[in-house]
Amino acid sequence: MQTLLAGLAYDRWIIAALLWLPVVGAAAILLAPAARAKYIAFGVTLLEFVLSVGLWWAYVPSGPAVQFIAQHAWVRDWGIQYYVGMDGISVFLVLLTTFLMPLAVLGSWKGITERERGFYALMLVLATGMIGVFVSLDLFLFYVFWEVMLVPMYFIIGVWGGKGRLYASIKFFIYTMVGSLLMLVAILMLYFAAGRQSGNWSFQYEHLLRYAVLEPRLQFWCFGAFFLAFAIKVPMVPLHTWLPDAHVEAPTAGSVILAGVLLKMGTYGLLRFAVPFFPAVAIGGTVGKVVIALAVVGMVYGALVAMVQPDFKRLIAYSSVSHLGFVVLGIWALTVQSVQGAVMVMLNHGISTGALFFLVGMIYERRHSRMLADFGGIARVVPAYAAILTVVSLSSIGLPGLNGFVGEFLVLLGTFRTHPVAATIGTTTVIFAAAYLLWALLRMLYGKITKPENEALRDLTRREYAVLVPLLVVIVWLGLFPGPVLRRIEPSSQRFIELVRLRLPLEVPTGPTVAPQDAPFVR
């Protein structure tokens, strides 16, 4: 496989293909008749996925830190470049995106009946924006993609959303915009600081990392700007209230992509930019403690609020707040296991929560309700639906053997070495997750049928199986064999920690190290 990919010069064109194919597809959709729109969108996203699968083999974990690099001048006078590449973490976030996109299109097949061309074209533009965020190595380019992705999502919620779509979409837009504009200011500060220091004007990631030396006070504000932008996106408590609204109002595909990929842009930003640029502020001192406290509070808070939601979609939205807390905790704990775990949680949350949103969407299409109280005992009428919903919920809870467990366990394991109290409190989240999801399943699926409307519900169609089965396969695969994925993430996680440690004046407590031969069960 590797020789085949090398023969195709895969590493040279893959990012360009992934980035620009959707744009071409979007243009084609706008030119084609409306009835063709979804076919084109599905074809393009499927092709994207097929192309991206090569990354699994083409990415060499032992190779250079960043691979698949493409670099061209864009605005020469200001040192802005089209500079893209991927490390192990980016590779999997891109794979997550390309994997979810065709499913999201397929999941919209029946749900989207109006203005189909606009919807599918926006979905494709969204894909470009998301992939762009994960591959940009030039901060200006990153910012452009970051903003580009905002627009299609705004319209997807605002045009194809539910009753409260206007409120939700504007809330989403303003929230994100406030954060990202402050981030732009911070990017410019880094740019000028690095330019003055080196005499070389560039937005390049490594360039800024090396030369952007700010005085401590400025560092604090600059970090604050980045952190705010990303924390809103994650979202971290108390900046999370746009998420439940956006999720509830968004169409199914919107929710899937929002939870599956967009939230990860926040944690990815923390991992790639906010922490490495300002490790002294981010990790050392009070700020680090506050962030960890916010992460833990978010985990517990999100879970508790999820428990009392009458609306299933809102419940899942709050569960995202809880799960993403794991990711932030894992990043800030700064051990290889916790960072690997954080990346795993990003992937697993994308898959499990994506699947949950698909499942809610499917039942909504049948009953036009997402209220748990409107169901009850439907496992008798829709056994396949109930079985899949149960498995996906168990994966979201973190049942060993399914994907969710791997990431959460690694985060808790890694965090315990540096922040035992936070890890301990975080563990309770798993209990609450079981409480809110199993309780929801109990009320929705099991027992006697309580509403006559539910007696004639149709079970899953072939198209719906086509959406869910790939997700189930990945849920089981990542649950049983996470090793190959972890191996590919490890060097990049290691590099992140070294990058932070090298630039960190304060010594971070590392806890006792256990030699492998003394701990035979660890490996």
Binding site: T241, L304, V305
Partner: protein
């Protein structure tokens, strides 16, 4: 390095590790305060109850304590907690078992109680004895559950014929079933004598070994005498409630109903053969750990060696051993005797005509209201706080209404304020202009 070198005996870390492990074990193996799920789980099919909730899965907690014996040996305080919780559970669950009418509920609380005995054993450092009881209990409790299944099967079939909706699991609707289900009745009697602790059946040996171990530990730590005493009283109650179950189910007059009675039949061979097989094991299982015959102790030695090095267990003189054994047999026989004397199956009325329980019996029937207490103290406050304080209060109230929509209202207010200056009326503009000019002049004059 292994645990004994890393952790000092009796250290806080060792105790914390052992206690946290035990918390998990208490959940899995249904010990106080985490036992409430097991009786409810008996709603599952009876073979599942037999296999999962009696013989195998629930004993995983006992297994884990045995596996992690090093930590419990390093933390004597935690081991005492294990034994104490076991003793308390053994007695507490047995009292609830005294007044249950649902045949499976009796067995469920019996299982909780017997798991308590296993924890007494492993808490006292007698790991092999704990595992021994785990194995023998698997034989006779699986037999009891499958037997109960056979009874319920027969009851269901009978009620099915007449389309009756009476409770097929309520012992008040049974009685005299021994005549209709002879194999089931005999097999269950074997198991009943075993769980009561009548020699030479399996349960006698294993339970006796556990109580002996607790008594011997009492010489070092008098706390274990109390554990032993609890275990002994629990044994009396065990013999009593099991005899009660047998009397009400299989003896005395039949209360199923005149129309239903002809349809009561022994279960087919596919159900009775396993009963017989388990009965044989219940009779012979005690040999697993007999000196010179069985070898469970020696077999487990590699597992428990490190613990026995850390915490040396005492030895009993043969005389004491025989005395305690005699006492245990006496207690078991006493329990059975008392039950046959005090209970009157012939006076029992079917469930729909039975008078309501009162006083302590009612409290036992309602399981000390533990489920309701948990609901009031834990579940409802947690849900209430989450709903009222966190969701409606913090999320919707503080963050959304005050913060998000508040800032939106502020922006709109500022916009409105600004719009007041754009009235389009020249007169207003002139007034403001003149006032401004005057203000500028005033300032300049003041400065000069």
């Amino acid at each position: 390095m292994a645990a004994p070198q890393l952790l000092a005996k009796g250290s806080g870390t060792a105790t914390a590790i052992a206690l946290l492990l035990f918390l998990g074990c208490a959940g899995k193996s249904a010990q106080i305060p985490l036992y409430v799920w097991l009786p409810d789980a008996m709603a599952g099919p009876t073979p599942v109850s037999a296999l999962i909730h009696a013989a195998t899965m629930v004993t995983a907690g006992v297994f884990l304590v045995v596996r992690a014996n090093v930590f419990f040996a390093l933390a004597p305080a935690a081991a005492a907690v294990v034994a104490g919780v076991g003793a308390l559970t053994a007695l507490f669950a047995a009292t609830i078992g005294l007044k249950q009418w649902d045949i499976k509920k009796v067995l469920a609380y019996s299982t909780v109680s017997q798991l308590g005995y296993m924890f007494i054993g492993v808490g006292a450092g007698a790991y092999a004895a704990g595992v021994f009881h785990l194995v023998t209990h698997a034989f006779f409790k699986a037999l009891l559950f499958l037997g109960a299944g056979s009874v319920i099967h027969a009851m269901h079939a009978a009620y099915h014929h007449t389309h009756s909706h009476a409770d097929a699991q309520d012992m008040r609707n049974m009685g005299g079933l021994g005549a209709h289900l002879p194999i089931t009745a005999k097999a269950m009697w074997v198991a009943t004598l075993a769980i009561a602790g009548i020699p030479p059946l399996a349960g006698f040996f294993s339970k006796d070994e556990i109580l002996l171990a607790a008594f011997i530990r009492g010489a070092q730590d008098p706390f274990y005498y109390a554990v032993w005493a609890f275990g002994l009283v629990g044994a009396l109650l065990t013999a009593f409630y099991m005899t009660r179950l047998m009397l009400y189910t299989f003896h005395g007059p039949n209360r199923t109903g005149d129309l239903e009675r002809p349809h009561l039949h022994e279960s087919p061979a596919v159900m009775t053969v396993p009963l017989v097989a388990l009965a044989v094991l219940t009779v012979l299982g005690g040999a697993l750990n007999l000196p010179h015959v069985g070898s469970l102790h020696r077999w487990l030695e590699p597992v428990t060696r490190s613990a026995s090095v850390i915490a040396a267990t005492g030895e009993a003189s043969t005389g004491l051993e025989v005395e305690l054994m005699g006492l245990a047999v006496l207690i078991a026989a006493g329990g059975i005797f008392l039950a046959t004397r005090l209970l009157h199956p012939e006076a029992l009325l079917p469930a729909d005509r039975a008078p309501a329980e009162t006083g302590f019996a009612k409290l036992l029937l309602e399981k000390y209201h533990v489920d309701e207490i948990y609901d009031r103290v834990i579940v409802r406050p947690l849900v209430g706080i989450s709903r009222v304080l966190l969701w409606k209060g913090v999320d919707a109230g503080l963050i959304d209404s005050a913060g998000v929509n508040g800032s939106a209202a502020l922006a709109r207010g500022l916009g409105w304020l600004g719009s007041r200056f754009q009235t389009g009326q020249v007169g207003t503009y002139v007034v403001v202009f003149v006032l401004g000019v005057l203000a500028v002049f005033g300032t300049l004059m003041g400065l000069l």
